[in-house]
Symmetry: C2
Subunit: 150 residues, 2 copies
DNA sequence: TGAATATCCTACCGAAAAAGTTGGTTTTTG
DNA sequence: CAAAAACCAACTTTTTCGGTAGGATATTCA
């Protein structure tokens, strides 16, 4: 189990894709500038996400990335596992140490918790829908904070 | 938020202390040999735990470490925060990016989940079943997907 | 008193991971 | 063709992880 800034980058990027799911593919340049992550680092993360089929790349002008499957079928744990590729929760399950056994028990609970949390759970809420609705009417999507919505 | 082998070391060590709470202080040499972690690395971790008053050191022969307070008052999140000392969950809360906002929302839920899991919960099972039964109507896995509770 | 046990403390080290950089190539659209 | 984008690989820098080394201090017990 691992959860660091790397995982946060991946999850927030996936949030972004989920938020703009109906607007066609989201280019990484947008996420990069919007979230101050280097483009190439994002590319490396998305290579892993694509390998796990959590995202689909669309090449060429107007391309970008889309979700690999519906948002309610992608859990946070899926995303973390994809970018970490270190799922050895049970490093020493057999040595009979009680404290180790308790850790395994705990981490399994944590995983099942993270497996229950889908992108749809996190994104589909009225508050966010209102925020993004303002952005989506414009095709630009560059700067997030607008002064007026004319 | 960060969760890696470092956090696991700290948590399992704290499990150990909680398990032997009534047997007097537990020396780090014991945890070290029992769990194949280097003594000095453990000492470094416990320096941080002691700074946050999660443990109390007892010097001299027959010494070791005891819990700093009752097991039901120490959460897993407490332990992780102590050894990570990087609690900047809200790295850019104000820049208005919806995806970032969603991450903050999510990580706060995760933290509150980890804050409810105390050492006592993990070590002393029957006691905990009562606690968690109070939290979510469904007993068992402790899956808290809904957050309607005000 | 002195030896043994243990916490406490500081500095340093090597390996690994994280994060970013550079410099491309393909694919697609206009 | 030019621009926008995914794709790809090699590289560098920075940080963290886990460990090593060498102590100092406190306590117990013979």
């Amino acid at each position: 189990m691992r959860l660091s800034t790397k995982g946060r980058y991946a999850v927030t990027a996936m949030f972004d894709l989920a938020l703009h799911e109906q607007d066609g593919p989201v280019p990484l340049t947008e996420i990069s500038t919007c979230q101050t992550i280097s483009l190439s680092y994002l590319e490396q993360l998305f290579a892993k996400l694509r390998k796990k089929e959590l995202v689909v790349g669309v090449r060429g002008v107007g391309g970008g990335y889309r979700l690999g499957r519906p948002a309610h079928q992608i859990s946070i744990a899926d995303i973390l596992r994809a970018v970490d590729e270190k799922v050895d929760v049970s490093r020493a399950a057999e040595d009979g140490d009680p404290a180790q056994a308790l850790w395994i028990e705990f981490s399994e609970k944590l995983y099942s918790y993270l497996d229950e949390r889908t992108l749809a759970d996190c994104v589909d809420r009225p508050y966010v829908q209102r925020i993004t609705a303002r952005q989506d009417d414009e095709h630009g999507r560059g700067i997030v904070v607008r002064q007026d919505a004319a």
